[in-house]
C-alpha cells in the first residue's frame, strides 16, 4: 500500500516539471497571450517527440503508451502548477477519452494513432450554448456524412485543432461526430473567457458535415465526464500548490511593521488553511486517479468528490494568495491573478462544485442503486 507517487511516477513528474520550466515558463506564456493560439505549436511538438505526451493516454494497440490514469494526472498537475499552455488536456485527455469511450473500433484505429504520433490534434465540443446545459441542443441529420447544426461553447483550444469531436443529437440518439474545422458552415470564435492561459471557443455549426464515430451512450458519456472531472481536479491540485508556494515564499520575504508578514498569525494561519485545503485536494484527486485505473466502480463517487474538493480548494487558495500579496498581487504584471482566473475557469467546467455535490446527494439518498447521471 502506497499513497503517493511511485519511483517511476516521481521520475515522470520531474521530467515533466523540467520540460515545462524550460519550454513554457510563465514569462513566455504571457508573451503568447496576444498570439494566434495562446501556445507555441513547436513546444507542443517537442512535448510529443521528447516527452511522449501525445502518446501517453493512447493504448498500446493504437500506437501509444497506455499510461495509467495516475501517470496522466502527474502530467496534468505539473501543467497546472506552471499554467503550461499546452493542449494536453483538450487533445490527449478529453479527445482521446471521447474516442475510447464513444467511438467504434474502426474509428479508434483510424484516429488514435495520428493523435499518439502528434500528427494531428483534436478537441471535443460537448456543452451546448443554450440552457438547460444538460440537454444536447445540437442536432444532426443522420447518415454517413451527417449535417450538424448548433452551437457549442467552452470548447478548449479549438483554434488550430485538426479534428473537432462534436456530440450531437440524432434521430438515433446522441452521436459522436468527427468534424473537420475547415468544413462548410463551421465557425470558431474565441470566447472572452476569464481564464487567460487556456483559450475557450464557441463553435457554430450550420449544416456542417461530420463523420459519425459511434453512439454517445450514457455509459460512455459518464466515463468521459468522470475522466474529465478527475483530470481537471488534479490540474487544480497543481494550481493550488503553486499558489500556496507563492504565498508562503512572499510571506517569508515581505516585511511590514518591521517583521516578515509571515510571522503574523493572521498570515500564518491563512497559509495553514491553504495547506490543509491543498492536501485535501491532493488526496481526493490522486484517489480518483487511482480508482480510475484500479477500481472503476468507485470512480463516479471519487471523481465527483475530487472535482468539488479541488474546485473549492483552487478558488479559495488562489484568492488567499492574492490577499497575502496585498497590492502587488492585484496588479496585472503579477502572476497571482492568472492562477485565480484558471481556478475559477476550471471550477466551472464539467460541473460546478454545487452540481457535483447535488449528484452525490442524489446518488447516496436514492432508494435503489443507480447509474450515475452525469450532468
Amino acid at each position: 500500500m502506497h499513497f503517493g507517487l511511485s519511483d517511476d511516477e516521481e521520475a515522470l513528474r520531474e521530467s515533466v516539471a523540467d520540460f515545462v520550466l524550460s519550454q513554457c515558463p510563465l514569462a513566455t506564456t504571457r508573451q503568447l497571450l496576444d498570439g494566434p493560439l495562446g501556445y507555441d505549436p513547436a513546444v507542443w511538438r517537442r512535448a510529443g517527440i521528447e516527452m511522449g505526451l501525445t502518446a501517453l493516454t493512447v493504448p498500446e494497440r493504437h500506437g501509444g503508451f497506455g499510461a495509467a490514469p495516475v501517470a496522466v494526472g502527474v502530467v496534468l498537475r505539473e501543467l497546472g502548477r506552471a499554467l503550461g499552455p499546452l493542449p494536453f488536456l483538450s487533445s490527449a485527455v478529453l479527445a482521446t477519452t471521447a474516442l475510447l469511450a464513444l467511438a467504434d473500433d474502426e474509428h479508434q484505429s483510424d484516429l488514435l494513432p495520428s493523435l499518439a504520433a502528434g500528427e494531428r490534434r483534436a478537441t471535443v465540443a460537448i456543452v451546448d450554448g443554450h440552457r438547460p446545459a444538460a440537454a444536447i441542443a445540437t442536432s444532426a441529420v443522420i447518415g454517413a456524412d451527417a449535417a450538424i447544426s448548433g452551437t457549442k461553447v467552452s470548447v478548449l483550444d479549438a483554434e488550430g485543432a485538426e479534428i473537432i469531436l462534436v456530440i450531437a443529437e440524432s434521430d438515433a440518439g446522441p452521436v459522436l461526430y468527427a468534424v473537420d474545422p475547415t468544413a462548410a458552415g463551421l465557425r470558431v470564435d474565441r470566447e472572452n473567457s476569464l481564464d487567460l492561459t487556456r483559450r475557450q471557443f464557441r463553435v457554430t455549426l450550420d449544416q456542417t458535415p461530420g463523420r459519425p464515430l459511434g453512439p454517445a451512450n450514457a455509459r460512455g458519456l459518464a466515463r468521459l465526464v468522470a475522466t474529465a472531472s478527475t483530470a481537471l481536479a488534479i490540474e487544480q491540485v497543481g494550481v493550488a500548490e503553486a499558489a500556496l508556494d507563492m504565498a508562503v515564499d512572499y510571506a517569508k520575504l515581505r516585511e511590514q511593521f518591521g517583521r516578515p508578514i509571515g510571522s503574523f498569525q493572521a498570515v500564518k494561519h491563512l497559509c495553514a488553511d491553504m495547506l490543509l485545503q491543498t492536501e485535501h485536494a491532493s488526496v481526493a484527486a490522486f484517489y480518483a486517479l487511482w480508482v480510475a485505473g484500479a477500481e472503476p466502480a468507485q470512480l463516479p463517487v471519487a471523481a465527483r468528490v475530487a472535482k468539488t474538493t479541488c474546485s473549492d480548494t483552487a478558488v479559495a487558495v488562489t484568492a488567499a494568495n492574492i490577499q497575502i500579496h496585498g497590492g502587488i498581487g492585484f496588479t496585472w504584471e503579477h502572476n497571482a491573478h492568472l492562477y485565480y482566473r484558471r481556478a475559477h475557469g476550471t471550477a466551472a467546467m464539467f460541473g460546478s462544485p454545487e452540481s457535483h455535490r447535488s449528484a452525490l446527494y442524489e446518488r447516496l439518498t436514492s432508494a435503489a442503486p443507480q447509474e450515475d447521471a452525469w450532468a
Binding site: S154, E191, I322, G327, T331, W332, H344, A348, S352, E354
Partner: protein
Amino acid sequence: MDLAQDDAQRAFRDELRAFLDAALGTEISDDFEGQRAWQRLLYASRWVAPHWPAQYGGRDASIEQFAIYIEELARARAPQFANRVGVQTAGPVLLAHGSHEQRERYLTRIASADDIWCQLYSEPGAGSDLTNLRTAARLEGDTWRVTGQKVWTSYGAQADFGLLLARTEVGVAPHLGISCFVCDLRAPGVDARPLRTMTGESEFAEVFLDDVALPPDALIGERGAGWEIGNTGLASERGVAFPLKEQAALQIMLDELLDRVRRDEVVPTPLQRDRIAQDIVNLHVLRLMNLKTVSQLSAGSELGTWASLIKLTWEQAAQHLGDTLFETTGPADPMDEDGRATAMLRYRMASLVGGTTQIQRNILSERRLGLPREPRRT
C-alpha cells in the same frame, strides 16, 4: 432611536433630484473629459461639494444632507466627476490645515475642475505600514527636493497637483517625521506611468518623483505633522463618502440581478438563491451601518474605529456580491462573461485597499475591544 427624515433633508433631496433629472438628460461621455464636463455642470449649480463652505462653491450642507447627496448621485447613476480625489481628499486637508493663501489659491479651482488632484501616499514598501514611507523631501535653501516612488494613484496620469506625504525629519519616531505637501505634477522630475490591475484596467498610476523641486509654500501645516494632516480627509472619504457610494453602486448591481431573475434570464440554483438572499441581507445591513455613521457624525462624534467596522462590512458585502454575479450567470453565457467576471475580480481588491482585512481586525481588537498589542520584536 429616531430615523425619520426632517423637512430640510427632504427639501435638499427634492432639489437635487430635480437637478439630476435635468442634468442627466443629455449624454455624458465616459472618458476623462466627459467627467470634467460633468463636474463643471455640477459646479455651476453648487452640486460638486455641498458639504464645503459656500465661499468655495459648497452649500454648508449637514452630514445627513451629504449622505443624501452621495446616495442620490449613485442612484441616478451619475458619472464619476473628474476631480473626486481633489474634492474628497485634498479639499478637507486644505480646509482644515491649509494657509489662507493655499485655501484661496486651490479650493475653488478644485471644485470647478480647473485643477485636477491626486493623492501621493502609498508606496511599494509602505502598504499596510504607512509609517514605513521612504519618499524623502530635503530642504535646500528654501526649496524642498523630493525623491521617491508612489503607487496606487488614482488620476495620477491626469492630475495637476498631488497631495504628497514625504519624510522630512530624521531621528524621530517614524510617524512624526512625515510632512504634507502640495506637489505640482507638471514639475520636472515627475513621471506618472499607468498601473494595470488584474482586471486589465489601468485605473491607477505609479508616480516616480526624481529630485522634484517644491517651493516653500508647498508645505501644508507644520513640518512633521503630515501623518495627521494627511489623514484628515482620508477618514471621511473612507468612512463616509466611499461606503455610501458603494452601498448605492452595489444595490444597483443587485437590483439588476434581481431584475434578470424576474425576467427568467437568470435561473439560480438553490444554493445561489440563498446566496442572493444573503446579498439582500448584506446590503440592507451595509445601509444601516452607513446610517449609523451619519447619525454619529451628526451628533458630533468622531468615527474612530467605527470606520473599521464599516470597511469590513463593505468588503464582505462587495466580495460576496461580486462572486454571486459571477456564479449566477455562469459559463453558459460566455459572451456576457467579461462584465460579470470584472466585478468579481475588481472586488478581490476590497480586502486590500483602505487598510487590509487583517489591519482592520487589528484596529478593532486593540482599539475598540482593548485587547493587548502584540509583543514587540526582540
